[in-house]
């Protein structure tokens, strides 16, 4: 569904992608794991059209979307649940949802209204708080709102950037239950996570991103959870010392395709 081929991009000075190739299968849950600074968020931003890649191509449903504007990407059917949720804090829950359907507002108001009802049916807790300002919601509720807002764009592919970040374990469980439910209803999901333990439970396929490159690609179970977790947090199976020396050789040969 989504094919990423040899993408190189940079965001600020550190989080660079150096030729990332991966694909997201329609109807599945694909996970991207990796340590901080590996470039996971950079990849999301590049797909979403915020960053222009220096090299490589991105295609979605066999159409090339490389370098497309963010609005074009949303129109093609890719919605992003951003890192740190980024809800609009002084707008109420309902307004946040409407903003998610921004590109469709001119055309079909009735359809948008219907979609709000759908989303509320899925997230009853948001319905109870329709008129509440998003900034006053709890972290978990804000995450739900961010997911609901992305769904308002009627995405064919839902990208989620660290949905468990900063949430209590019980809330994380709930967020992953939502991810499973969304998948069961036919949404394709591309999930970026630090929480490897939770991500491996839902993933059909996963990639490890280390220092801007895909270092592993496979199904959960092909790599022991212990190793995944170590590499997802520390960036290297040997641990910290090794990655410290690797930093001196930015183009270290770490690629091990799975």
């Amino acid at each position: 569904m989504l094919e990423i081929d040899g993408i190189a991009a940079s965001y600020g000075n550190i989080q660079a992608l150096r030729g990332v190739t991966l694909s997201v299968e329609e109807g599945g849950i694909t996970c991207l794991l990796g340590p901080n600074g590996a470039g996971k968020t950079t990849l999301m931003m590049t797909i979403a059209g915020i960053l222009k890649p220096r090299r490589g191509t991105i295609s979605f449903l066999d159409r090339n979307i490389t370098g497309m504007r963010p609005s074009g990407v949303v129109r093609r059917g890719i919605a992003l649940v951003p890192e740190n949720r980024l809800v609009f804090p002084h707008m109420n829950v309902h307004e946040n949802l409407i903003a998610g359907a921004y590109l469709r507002l001119g055309k079909s108001k009735a359809q948008v209204r219907q979609d709000v009802d759908h989303v509320f049916a899925r997230f009853p807790r948001l319905q109870e708080r329709t008129k509440q300002l998003a900034g006053t919601l709890s972290g978990g509720e804000q995450q739900m709102l961010a997911v609901a807002r992305a769904l308002m764009a009627r995405p064919r592919l839902l990208m989620m950037d660290e949905p468990s970040l900063g949430l209590a374990p019980l809330v994380v469980e709930e967020i992953f239950r939502i991810i499973r439910d969304l998948h069961a209803d036919g949404t394709t999901i591309f999930l970026v996570e630090q929480n490897a333990h939770m991500a491996l439970q839902v993933a059909h396929h996963f990639y490890l991103l280390e220092q801007g490159q895909v270092s592993f690609s496979g199904k959960p179970g092909q790599l022991s959870e212990h190793e995944v977790i170590q590499r997802a947090y520390l960036g290297k199976q040997q641990g910290r010392d090794q990655s410290a020396t690797d930093r001196d050789q930015p183009d270290g040969t770490m690629l091990r395709s799975g």
């Binding site: 809800v87 609009f88 002084h90 900034g135």
Partner: protein
């Protein structure tokens, strides 16, 4: 007592023009999180365009008003392209400093093109004051108040009930998130600038036509009044801009009456000083600051 109430009424009328200036400032600040110092000078240029149309063509009031607004908007666009769009990724202070440079440039251009400095500006209406019980109302002040009220209501409608308003609020809250929704952030910022400039143009026309004359110093004056009114109300808050403008007008009117004309600006600065010491967030800004802190604690 009658004097006091009369001063309040005068102050509210005067303050409604400050409110328009402050709305322009706060709209730009709210959307860009950057200060546009050349806001006053750019609407001053608009007023000079109005004067030019008046002197050259002996145009009627409506044409002069239109010329003033169009002039202000065009100069506003020039400022937006140069000081904001071109360095959108740079530091916010770069925008402020370059807007100050453009301020100087605009003043110089106007002094070169209009060497006499002070030019006549035709009044919108010339009618006797309206008497209502013990109170007097100048007709031009009533017009000023009515225009300001109508434009504020229109802006409220625009922000709360239209698709563009939703986009504008989204951009002012979080431009990154707005991009993810597919909102064209650059276009929204541009249009916010145009609206702010148009508001400034109307304010400039109303103020200058009530004064009957225009000088290049109007730019400095408008930036001061707009900035003070915005800071009294709370930066980035539109209700705050209105309240701040009205408060500034009332305080000025009272001090003119009780202390003398020379205390008008002094009392305005004193009021600002008090606010900066005791309520730095402004009338409405404080609320926003507190709400933000509450929200941050929950995250």
């Amino acid at each position: 007592m009658v004097d006091f109430v009369q001063n309040c009424l005068d102050g509210i009328m005067l303050g409604s023009s400050y409110a328009l200036l402050a709305i322009g400032f706060t709209l730009i600040f709210g959307v860009m999180r950057r200060l546009n110092l050349s806001y006053g000078p750019s609407i001053m240029v608009g007023a000079f365009v109005g004067t030019l149309v008046y002197l050259e063509f002996k145009a009627n009031a409506l044409a002069i008003a239109a010329a003033t607004v169009v002039g202000a908007v065009i100069v506003g666009i020039y400022v937006e392209r140069l000081c904001f769009r071109a360095i959108r990724r740079g530091a916010a202070v770069a925008s402020m400093v370059s807007s100050f440079v453009i301020w100087m440039q605009l003043e110089e251009i106007v002094t070169v093109v209009f060497p006499d400095r002070t030019y006549p500006f035709p009044p919108l209406v010339s009618a006797a004051p309206v008497e209502l019980g013990p109170f007097f109302f100048k007709v031009e002040n009533l017009v000023m108040f009515a225009c300001a009220a109508a434009m504020t209501v229109w802006l409220h409608w625009l922000l709360q009930y239209t698709r563009f308003g939703l986009a504008l609020r989204a951009v002012s809250e979080n431009p990154r998130a707005a991009l993810f929704m597919g909102i064209n952030v650059g276009a929204v910022m541009f249009l916010a600038f145009v609206i702010a400039s148009a508001f400034g143009g109307v304010a400039a026309y109303l103020i200058v036509s009530a004064d009957g004359q225009i000088t290049p110093l109007f730019g400095l004056w408008a930036t001061f009044k707009g900035l003070i009114a915005m800071m009294l109300g709370g930066m980035g808050s539109i209700p705050g801009a209105i309240l701040g403008g009205l408060l500034l007008g009332v305080v000025e009117a009272q001090s003119i009456w009780y202390l003398g004309t020379e205390y008008r600006d002094l009392s305005a600065y004193f009021l600002l000083f008090l606010f900066l010491v005791f309520r730095p967030g402004g009338l409405m800004g404080q609320l926003a600051v507190e709400r933000e802190q509450a929200a941050m604690r929950r995250v």
